[in-house]
Every structure is written in C-alpha cells, then in structure tokens.
Subunit: 419 residues, 2 copies
C-alpha cells in the first residue's frame, strides 16, 4: 500500500496536454489562458485626462496667472484639439485625450467658472497633475497577462481592452463518470428497502463543473461482461474515466479485473489514507488499444510520444471517499495537465484530534477567519458513508500518516477546500 | 460625503426578495437553497454492511466458534436474506443490507475461505462490528441541509440521496449592465487614437457570473435624451441596473440628472473611499412609475409593501472603481437579498502602507498562505485607471478612513477577495 505522497506523485506523472482551443473571451472565465496577452498600444494609449476640470499650460500658472478664458471643450471620445493661446484653458473630461499645448488639469472642485472664464481657487498646482501619462501602466508589446493564468473577471477586462475577442485556452479533458452498484436507483425513483439513490456521480459532476469541465455520466450494472464491453468503448472515447465503487474486495467488485483484462495498466491500488483507501488508479494507452483492432487486450503503456492515454481513477464507492479523492487527486492532476500552478493552503487545527490508524487522515473541517488566521474546526462525522456530514464542513484537513496518535490544537496542516 | 460603512448600510437597507423558483437539482450549484432538505428515510435506511466479508451471529463467535459454513451471499442491491442456522455465515458486500439473524461482519482480510467454509483468523471480533447502523447518520425527517445554504457539490450529493430531483432556490435578480462614455468602442474594433475599448461591462458580467447571475448589457452614447429614454425602459424591466461611468463632475456625466428626472431616489452620491468615490446609488419605485402611465416622472419610493423597487448602482467609470464597488457593495447586497450569511475574511498586511487622503482605501493585494496565516501583499498600481494591475492581485484589503497615515505591517484588516 503506497503513501498519499507517492500516490499523488504517480497521479501527477500521468498528466497530459489536451491541446489548445480558441473561444470567445467572454466565455473564458475559469479557463486557463494559453497565450501571453500583450498590450496592443501603450496603456493609456494617450495622455489621458484623469479628472473633470480644465486643462492649462502649466507655465502660465507658474508665471502667476490664475484666471483662464475657456477656449473650448475636450470630451472623452473626441479627437484631440489644441489650446491656441497659452493663457487660455480648455474644459476637459475624465477619459479624454489631453489637449495639445496643455500640461496640467485642475479639477472642477478647484476652479470657479463665470462668464466663460475659469479662476483657479487653490494655491498649488503641479506640472502634469491629474494626467494619466501615455504608457504609464504599460508599453505596447508588454505582457499584461502571462500564459497559464486562470482567467477571472480581472483578466476579462484586460482581454477586452486589448481587443482579444477570441482567446486561446487549454482544452478540457473529455470525462466520463461511471457509477456501479446494483443497490443504486435513480434520483427520481423511490428506492426499495434494500436500495439507495445514486449520488456520487452527481457530486463528481458538480466537482468537475467547478473546474469548468463538462462531463458525461453512466451507471453500469454489476455484471462483468457488460462492464467490460462498456468500459472498452469509454476507454477509446474519453481522456479520463472516473469510477465510483466496485474497486474493493467484494464479490462483485469487478473493476480491477476488468481494467486488467482491457489492458489498463494499474499504477496503484490502495493508498494509506482514510477515507478513500481502496482507490485504484491506472492508465491505458488507447492508441495502441485501437491498433489492436478486435483484440480485447491493449498492450501496456509505453514512452512512445504517439500514445494517447486514458486515465482511470477508480474511486471507492463510499460518498466521502469519492469526494475527497476527487479533490485530492483529480484536481491536482487537472491543474498540472492544464499548466496551472496552485498554492498550497493550510490552516490551524482548532481542537486536538486523536486518530489511531497509521494512515493519512483527511478530516472534514469548517473554516473560520480570525485575525488573519485560518482556523480549521473538526466536524464529527460517522465515517465514509456519512454524506450529510459534508454539508457542515468546508474543507478536509490533511493529517499526516504517523505513529503519533494525537494531532494538537494550534498545529498547522494542509487543507483541501471545497467551498 | 458618507462613509463606506454608512454607504454599505444604505445599500443593504434596499435588499429585496426576488422570490423562489424550482429548478433541476443538478443545475443548482452556486444557488441559494430556499427549503429545508429533510431525510426521506433513515440514514442509512437499513443496517448497512460496511466491509466486504462474512456476516455472522456474534453469539456464535462469542461461544468460541471460529469456522462458519457459508450459507449464502448477500450482494448490495438485493433483498435481505436470513441466516437459517446461527452456526453458519453469509458472504456480504459493502452497501448490502445486513442479513437477518446476523450481528457482526468480519472482513475478507480477516478470514480464510476454503471448501465453502470461512475460518476467522483474528482473535477479536466485536458485536455489531463493520455495520453502519440504520439511522446512525440521521433519522427520517431530520433536516440535512438548512434553507439559505449555498449549494455546493456536497449538497448535490445529499439532494440526490433524498430524491430531490427538483429543488427550490432563490430567484436571481434581473440585471442590466450599462456602460456610457463616447470614448468607448467594441472589443473587436480597432480604436482611433482618442478611443479605447469597452471593458467594464465585461468585467461586471464576469463578476455577476461568479454569483450565477445572468445579465444583459448595453452601451448608451453620452446623449441625455437617449440615456433618459433607454433608462426609463430599463427601470421598468429590470430589478437592478449597474452603470459604469457618467456619475462624476464631467459636462457629459448626465446620469445623476437623468436618474433624478426619472424619479429614481438618490440615496447617496460619493463615498469617502478610494478608488470609487463618485459612486451614485439610488432606488426607483417602478410600480409607481408604471402607474403614472405616460408621465416621465415617477413618485418617490414609499414604504408601501406593494412597491417593486429597481436598484440603481452608478459606479464610477474607472476600471478599478467599477470593480471594487461591485465587490464591496453589489456582492453584499446580493447575498443579503437571497438570504446568504457570509463570513468576513481578513488578512495580515505584509508591508507598511502609507496613505494620506482621509478616505477608506481599497488596496489591491496578493494573498499568500503561510503557516495558517493569510498574508496580504500590497500590489503597486498606477491608480484607478490601471486595469492591468488587477491581474497581479487576488483581493482588495480595506484600510479604514483615518487621520493616521501609516498602516503597519502585521496589522489585520478585512479583505474583499475576487479569486
């Protein structure tokens, strides 16, 4: 049984490049940028008036002049005009081009306008004041957004400004989510006494939606030939298969055998963690699988660059196991695949925690901000089947595998946040 | 000029209930739940086998018996069977109903199976072990998710489990986003020397998308009669109007006049903050506006319960002003309107900050997690027009209005996060 650290490294070693697509910029929020965004002009592109008021030739003010005849008006969005007489002024609006032959803007609050003449009512005016100088925020050609940035509303504004109506982003992997388990019925059905409703595929869909990954779902009955036939097709069609259930020791836990028979290379099965221990993880070289034509068995993964891998995450079927493994393994796999660097978050344990098994413990916690400290308050649940306990938490805190039994209040550990 | 605190309180006093709608549960992520979700059965609904293995009558083990003949099998999803002879056992799978007349489950790892007989290879077995007891996580009728919860993947799982294929959520307000400013051209256009491209409406669309609020957008030229005609219609059609620009002192900043002439009650104009000071905020009783028929002027807002208000946020046109005001005012207004309680986040200032104007300062910061501390690293920008500087930050830290000039490294202040 491998450690969480080894398991994560193994998962990260299988990351793939799904290529690039160009999409309308307004649909790109949450996606990963795949080009550097450069300034198409200086920022601002002209000496920009930064306050509503009057534009003057600063040397006139310096020479003691305080009253300026209004020669014209320069609204935002109009072509630049010129001050004809350096003893006059031009009314200017925020966002306008600074008129030619002017060198300072005095805001309306600091002038008195009467009879088409503006008197400056303050003592001090500085050269270039209230002017947002051409190129101050950036020069044409400067990189404004680096490739591999996750696009938020802030980036959307920059994309609009530089005219990137279409933008290159990382393509999303094509994902199929499969549940197994004959005890499961649909959400709209009334289960019999021995049945429960499906829920894991929907939590997985929602967790992927958070990454803007669309996914498809299927439920397959616990029947080995049917499982094999369907999974064989999924392996050819999808980049990633996420399974929930049928990876443990049960008589009907056919998935590990089916994977093996279909040529999916097992990279590990079982991780020293709770919950989520029976996690099965593997890779299929589906290009080779295709080449085999009718053969049921694909050859093992190679280092061949022409391979097209399908990644298989076989999550244990308990709701919390599926949930935490998606966050702890699929999320980092996805981030690395699309080139997004993420920051590890950590939090301070609010209570002592006693945990005897020598396993990494993903413990549900509520997060609270106190004086700049992020506090993790453990939530009492009833084990990996207790789906409802997820509702009361915000994250999992990752307590390391150790022979020590007690984790102390005040100690800091990494967290995996889901809210 | 009112304080940020007063402005926020005024904004929050105008929150409204937009009602409830019922939508497919799988589309409800990010929405605010408007019903308590109750357990439709006990959780688990039956004594649930928690490990793959054999189910025995514990008293037989207690009486010294170690080898049990296998009488049958109880898969998950099958009707409950009964152990006929208390000296036998039944093979059981995780998720199955515990067979009648059995009271403990011994996992496969701890038994040796030969010739249809299972020998327990461990010394200690406890009564009820590896059984997830009926109702342990919740009883039928228990509230599993409280009304007013923001729905995440965790809640989706619970909704599926209790069969809520349709779920009641808060209706979203109907929002129109309007930009003004004749210097603005479309994203796909090449601006002339004195023009720039529109960006604020797109950042606003994206900021609202983060709240799952769809919005419409329009650009209106700086022409008072046109502005008036269009806004009059928007006031009737929408719950919220967000404007960017035309609220300051410029000659073409017609919005405050237009709002007044259309009967929008001004609740404040200008807030003691930087950036975003010329923020205009008001409310129109649009039901009354309708009743006036052709009259251009609606009467002022009343305390009448039959009123239908349209809320008008007139954000200043500088990109950072629009951005921060949307986060600092519209977001809390929305949260309160839909009934979501939020937690204030705060962070520790990483450097001294000197700020002379006696205004609340929303300063862009990068966030970093260090040993459970949330550190806010100030980002140098070139003022409220410097859109590109938003890309390098994650949040605004809110430094209070004070005559003190220096905010010290290590001090803790609230943050408004946008990543």
């Amino acid at each position: 049984m491998i450690s969480v650290k080894q398991a994560l490294q193994t998962v990260l070693d299988t990351t793939q490049d799904f290529g690039i697509e160009e999409i309308p910029f307004i649909q790109s929020v949450g996606r990963i940028l795949k080009e550097d965004i450069k300034a198409d002009r200086d920022f601002p592109p002209f000496n920009r008036v930064a306050m509503d008021g009057i534009a003057i030739d600063f040397s006139s003010f310096q020479n003691g002049q305080r009253t300026f005849q209004i020669e014209g008006i320069q609204p935002a969005g109009s072509e630049q005009i010129s001050l004809q007489n350096s003893e006059n002024c031009i009314e200017v609006m925020t966002g306008a081009v600074l008129p030619n032959n002017t060198s300072a803007v005095v805001r309306y609050e600091d002038v008195v306008i009467e009879n088409n003449s503006a008197r400056v009512s303050i003592e001090t005016v500085s050269d270039r004041q209230n002017i947002h100088a051409k190129g101050k925020d950036g020069k044409v050609g400067d990189i404004l957004i680096q490739q591999n940035t996750k696009i938020s509303a802030a980036e959307i504004g920059v994309l609009a400004t530089v005219g990137k109506s279409m933008v290159k982003v990382a393509k999303q992997p094509k994902v199929m989510i499969v549940s197994t388990g004959d005890e499961l019925v649909g959400v709209a059905k009334t289960p019999l006494a021995h049945q429960i409703r499906r829920s894991n595929i929907f939590t997985l869909v929602s967790l992927l939606e958070k990454l803007n990954i669309p996914s498809e779902t299927a439920h397959i009955t616990d029947d080995k030939p049917i499982l094999k036939e369907k999974i064989k097709n999924y392996l050819k069609e999808y980049d990633v298969l996420l399974f929930s259930g049928a990876v443990s020791k049960g008589k009907f836990d056919f998935l590990p055998e089916v994977f093996e028979e279909l040529g999916v290379e097992k990279l590990f099965h079982k991780v020293a963690q709770r919950p989520g221990k029976p996690f099965w993880f593997g890779v299929a070289d589906t290009l080779r699988l295709d080449e085999q034509g009718d053969s049921e068995r694909a050859v093992k993964r190679t280092e061949n660059k022409n391979q097209k891998n399908t990644i298989v995450f076989g999550f244990p079927g308990n709701p919390i196991s599926t949930y935490v493994n998606c966050l702890a393994y699929f999320y980092p796999w996805y981030y690395k695949s699309v080139g997004l660097e993420t920051q590890e978050e950590n939090a301070i344990l609010a209570d002592d925690v006693i945990f005897k098994p020598n396993l990494t413990y993903f413990l549900q916690v509520q997060l609270s901000y106190r004086y700049g400290h992020l506090i993790a308050i453990p939530i009492k649940g009833n084990g990996s089947g207790d789906l409802a306990s997820l509702v009361h938490a915000d994250a999992f805190i990752q307590l390391p595998k150790t022979e020590e039994i007690r984790f102390k209040k005040g100690e800091v550990f990494p967290i995996v946040r889901y809210r």
